[in-house]
């Protein structure tokens, strides 16, 4: 009798231990399985956690999930395809980094107007090969002040076309060709230089513009334009518009003043000289790429600066940690198609 009672007690106790111990085992297993990375709209928190770290050569186990809408996980300046993250589902991802450094991970699906603010950093530590030192970008080497205003009154009558300019290419001086011109000069400066060339004196203003368009076309490749178009549609069109007119679906919202009325008055300066510089909430209307008075006064290097650094308080994201060098140049090549007809004769 006594023996049976002890057996029963032991049985009950072992069941209790199992019930209490099971979550503990599960928790340990989860800790080994890696990091649970939750995505949320930027307004309600963005990524949690935002900072990850891993050693070179070690596997970073990520379990991705979303708390609200469809997000996507990608790593900047890498060729890893983006991974969609669906609410209520766990997507597993294993990452191995072979070079130390700081990598930006970001969302590639438009999840709100502040979608681009949804970014985080993976810090990869360890010896490994130090990555090739990044060359400072062209706009820095040229010392371009990105925030100075640019404008030109010298605009062509119609959209310059490369195929029309092709006729006069034999008249071009050798110095007027090459990538140096395309990268560093604004079209309007280049046009003025051509205009003062005696060999081209007999051409009309429009013909000289067509010639400039041809030089711009000779520095872009069709597959580069295609890549640029793809990047533009995914990353830029929501604000700058599908046709580049600065009229994307978010344009109207970006044009509004700061709803929180954050203002800052500089002593001695005009009132509201820096509206909400602290909050960074204030945004401005996206640039109209079809406006020749603005675009033709910009050089490719300046566009590169705008893309890499962003708009600083205008709502324009900074793409430096996201785009590779070649992606940036492909995008710039595509931006020129809003001003120049770079294609073949129709």
């Amino acid at each position: 009798m006594k023996h049976k009672e002890w057996m029963a007690r032991l049985f009950v106790l072992s069941l209790l231990a199992l019930a209490l111990g099971a979550p503990l085992i599960g928790w340990r297993q989860q800790a080994q399985n890696g990091v649970l990375l939750r995505g949320r709209m930027a307004e309600t928190g963005g990524w949690t956690p935002e900072n990850l770290s891993v050693a070179v050569g070690e596997t970073l186990y990520l379990r991705l999930t979303s708390d609200d809408v469809l997000h996507s996980f990608a790593i900047g300046r890498s060729d890893m395809p983006p991974v969609d993250i669906l609410p209520g589902e766990i997507t597993e991802l294993n990452l191995v980094f072979d070079q130390p450094g700081k990598y930006t991970f970001y969302c590639t699906r438009w999840c709100s107007i502040n979608h681009w603010r949804m970014r985080g950093v993976i810090e990869v530590v360890g010896a490994g090969q130090p990555g090739a030192a990044l060359e400072s970008p062209l706009y820095v080497r040229l010392g371009i002040d990105l925030d100075s205003t640019v404008h030109t009154a010298l605009t062509p009558e119609e959209k310059p076309a490369a195929w029309r300019g092709q006729e006069y290419t034999r008249l071009l001086p050798a110095a007027a060709l090459g990538s140096e011109v395309y990268l560093t000069q604004a079209p309007v400066d280049y046009w003025q230089a051509l205009r003062s060339t005696t060999a081209l004196a007999h051409l009309t203003d429009q013909q000289v513009w067509d010639l400039a368009a041809w030089v711009w076309a000779s520095n872009t490749a069709p597959q580069e334009l295609e890549e640029g178009q793809q990047l533009y549609a995914v990353n830029c069109a929501a604000c700058h518009g599908e046709s580049g007119g600065g009229d994307g679906v978010f344009a109207a919202q970006l044009d509004q003043a700061d709803p929180g009325e954050h203002t800052m008055t500089i002593p001695g300066g005009a009132p509201d000289a820096m509206p909400s510089a602290i909050s960074g909430v204030r945004t401005t209307r996206p640039t109209d790429f079809t406006n020749p008075a603005y675009m033709l006064a910009l050089s490719s290097a300046r566009l590169q600066g705008k893309i890499l650094r962003g708009g600083m308080g205008t709502g324009m994201p900074y793409w430096g940690p996201i785009f590779t060098e070649s992606q940036t140049w492909a995008l710039i090549a595509y931006l020129w198609t809003f001003q120049f007809d770079l294609g073949e004769k129709p």
Partner: protein, 159 residues
């Protein structure tokens, strides 16, 4: 006497339910709808087409990624802000079809719906006819009356 009338009522009810209605024969045409999707609505939410029309729907998302599926047509697409998507199909099935969002777009996502009406809404007319018939039958079979004949007699007497 009274018991026989149910056959007449049933015959009329079947007629109301299944009799072919005259359809306005419109020549098939091209229709284009730009549907703007935002949290949590489609604008416009009700699309109309005649049977046989070639319908193109351009779905433009205004805030987050939205989708569009049409029940009964087996069509689906998704659009991101800045990247509109198009659906082109022939409206070869008539009736009313539900539009639904296919991308989880927020907490009220399940309520993001719309409708595609192909042809006249015959169901509404037939249901109204049946309701009217039911009321008539109810009135006719009130205790103390003798069916349809009594209604006709009462009507004649009034005149």
């Amino acid at each position: 006497m009274k018991n026989r009338y149910w056959i007449v009522w049933m015959a009329v009810a079947l007629l109301v339910m299944f009799a072919p209605l005259p359809t306005r024969a419109a020549p098939p045409q091209e229709r284009f709808y730009r549907v703007e999707a935002s949290q949590f609505e489609y604008r416009p939410a009700i699309l109309k087409a005649n049977p046989g029309d070639r319908v193109t729907i351009e779905l433009a998302a205004l805030d987050v990624v939205h989708g569009l599926a049409i029940d009964g047509y087996n069509l689906e697409t998704t659009a991101e802000p800045g990247q509109p998507a198009r659906l082109t199909f022939t409206a070869d099935r008539s009736g009313a079809f539900r539009l639904r969002c296919t991308m989880t777009c927020g907490n009220l996502h399940p309520f993001m719906i719309g409708k595609l009406n192909v042809g006249d809404n015959q169901l509404l007319w037939r249901a109204s006819g049946l309701a009217f018939l039911a009321a008539l039958a109810g009135a006719a079979s009130r205790p103390g009356r003798e069916g349809l004949a009594s209604i006709l007699q009462a009507w004649r007497r009034q005149r």
